[in-house]
């Protein structure tokens, strides 16, 4: 069981009209691994994420999470039952709600046994929310957001919003997290913080990661293995060192 990859995607294809955004891509993420996904702009990385996490329907292909076929599951079911969480390239937070509420919402569906139990205001329900609030506060401290925890998330900087998004994904003790450009547009200090947090979640909480990232230094420092997409196809796969030297990959980036 433990030798099985945590996530396996086979022959995934997705077209938008005439554009084959993802063309017959297969890859896997091992348990406890941090895997990188790189490629030029428009190479299909985000589409690949969407189709693997239920936000988009793939035209064909199969997604297996922890030994279970989850092809065709909805985004919310994959998150809730599969404990596979994802972030979005264009950072999103619940802008009008404060940081703490953002995190509590992110944890609720994993704590309540059914949809109907969420309508309860009983003692059990209140205890669950209290526990969620405590966990949210721990993560808020870790993310360095303690002083702004009661501010509306929309009032915070882009980097802080990325941290909120990341901390939210840690609320439900996930098995695997897919990050779409977590470092884009944030200052080096926060990049360091995000890198530290990814490493921490990976080492201490046993979360596996698939990370889309353009910053090659970051990729080299956190990923054991990298997959390269180009024009919807898988171009190469290997350690960051071999990928950087790969002639085809260099051409794809320069020629793109």
């Amino acid at each position: 069981m433990s030798t099985l990859p945590i996530l396996e995607i086979s022959n995934l294809t997705k077209s938008y009209g005439a554009v084959k955004a993802v063309n017959d891509v297969s890859m896997h993420i091992d348990r406890g691994e941090i895997c990188g996904l790189i490629g030029p702009n428009g190479s299909g990385k985000s589409t690949f994420f969407d189709c693997s996490t239920g936000l988009g329907r793939p035209d064909s292909g199969k997604v297996t999470l922890d030994g279970q076929d989850i092809t065709g599951w909805s985004l919310n079911r994959i998150a809730r039952e599969g404990r596979m969480l994802r972030s979005f390239q264009k950072t999103v937070v619940f802008k009008a709600l404060d940081v703490e509420e953002n995190l509590i919402i992110a944890g609720q569906m994993f704590t309540f046994p059914s949809l109907f139990s969420t309508f309860s205001l009983g003692r059990m329900s209140r205890q669950r929310v209290t526990a969620l609030r405590e966990r949210a506060r721990e993560l808020i401290r870790m993310a360095g957001l303690w002083d702004v925890r009661h501010m509306p998330a929309g009032n915070l900087s882009g980097g802080q919003q990325k941290l909120i998004q990341f901390a939210s994904m840690l609320m439900p003790e996930p098995k695997i997290i897919l990050l779409d450009e977590p470092m884009a547009g944030i200052n080096p200090k926060i990049i360091e913080r995000v890198v530290e947090t990814i490493k921490y979640a990976n080492k201490s909480l046993g979360v596996s990661f698939l990370v889309i990232e353009h910053n090659i230094d970051v990729v080299t420092s956190i990923c054991e293995r990298v997959v390269v997409l180009d024009q919807g196809r898988k171009l190469a796969e290997g350690t960051p060192q071999t990928i950087v030297q790969n002639q085809q990959v260099r051409e794809a980036y320069l020629g793109g």
Binding site: N76, A79, V92, M109, L115, F119, V129, S168
Partner: protein
């Protein structure tokens, strides 16, 4: 499992620099309760009638607020469920002479159940198409009420719906007169307000707000948004149906005119004008808008013009309805400067 070493620290209680005055919220609440309970002795019967209508409309407005204010779904279907509730209660009372509370519960259930098959296709539509679709429900409801003559008696409607009565074993008690009806409606309105409060404070309420704020993000953290939207749509219908049942008993007639767009827009004005996503705003809104509309009946030729002007003032001066104003007032009463 502690994630950091610093997690033992407790946040320092910040010393309040604000000069606090006495907290007057409890006395004010008691005062409002006393006024509400003694209203029949303080105001004339026409004003009391206006308040009864306002309290009846508060019910569908509460339901609509769950939908529009908390879940972010704009619907015009409330009048349809209001009408369904009114006909359900009217038919039961006329044909079977059932007690008031039976009619009320049946009306709520009927509206909620009918909302299920309507909501399943409608909620798959995008925002604007959904609004059009809910508008269709009202029109279809009216057409059915007009044409299903064997049951609804068509345009003649149901008349001589009996006054609400309660039966407990051999004892029975009939509510007659405006004063009695006022207390009955007040009781139902207070219960409904508490119910909305409980729903909104529950974890489900937080999920509803998440759906309103960003549906895709809510999905991505595991919230089954589609099922929540369907449940809230049904709940909103239950509130409207209950309101309809009281309406039928109060007016003692139900006609196809119960299904009218004017009612849906009134309910929407109560919610948006009072303050979508707040409970106090909607309570205030129902008293203001329905009360105003009823009170202006004394000058029928000016009524709609005056009503229209009030809406314009609202739009330009209170962009978020009265809720922010009420909040400021409430914290003022609470002693915060």
């Amino acid at each position: 499992m502690s994630l950091t070493q610093t997690s033992r620290e407790t946040p320092l209680a910040e010393p309040s620099l604000e000069v606090r005055r006495r907290d007057l919220r409890l006395p004010l609440g008691i005062l409002v309760a006393i006024v509400a309970l003694s209203a029949p002795f303080l105001i004339g019967s026409y004003a009391l009638h206006a308040i009864i209508i306002a309290l009846i409309f508060l019910l569908p407005a509460h339901g609509l607020n769950l939908l529009v204010g908390y879940t972010g779904l704009l619907s015009l279907a409330q009048a349809a469920f209001f009408g369904i509730g009114a006909y359900t209660a009217g038919l039961l009372a006329v044909h079977y002479g059932t007690p008031f509370y039976v009619n009320l519960v049946a009306a709520g259930l009927m509206a909620g159940l009918i909302a299920l098959p309507l909501g399943i296709p409608a909620l798959r539509l995008r925002a604007t198409s959904f609004v059009m679709c809910t508008l269709g429900f009202v029109i279809i409801g009216q057409a059915i009420a007009k044409n299903w003559i064997s049951v609804t008696r068509g345009d003649m409607g149901l008349s001589s719906i009996p006054k609400p009565f309660f039966a407990l074993g051999p004892a029975s008690f009939t509510v007659s007169g405006t004063t009695g009806f006022y207390y009955l409606t007040l009781a139902v309105a207070v219960l409904a307000t508490l119910a909305v409060w409980a729903i909104v404070r529950s974890p489900a309420g937080r999920n509803m707000i998440a759906i309103r704020e960003n549906e895709t993000l809510a999905e991505s953290v595991g919230v089954p948004t589609w099922r929540y939207k369907l449940i809230v749509f049904m709940l909103s219908a239950v509130f409207a149906g209950v309101g309809g049942s009281i309406y039928a008993h109060y007016l003692t007639v139900v006609s196809p005119l119960t299904f009218q767009m004017y009612y849906s827009t009134t309910m929407l004005i109560i919610v948006l004008g009072g303050g979508a996503g707040t409970i106090s705003g909607v309570v205030f809104g129902s008293l203001l808008f329905v009360g105003l509309s009823e009170a202006l009946r004394v000058a029928p030729e000016l009524r709609m013009i005056a009503y229209g002007f009030c809406l314009l003032i609202l739009v330009f001066w209170f962009k978020k309805g009265f809720a922010p104003l009420l909040n400021r007032f409430w914290s003022f009463v609470g002693g915060v400067k």
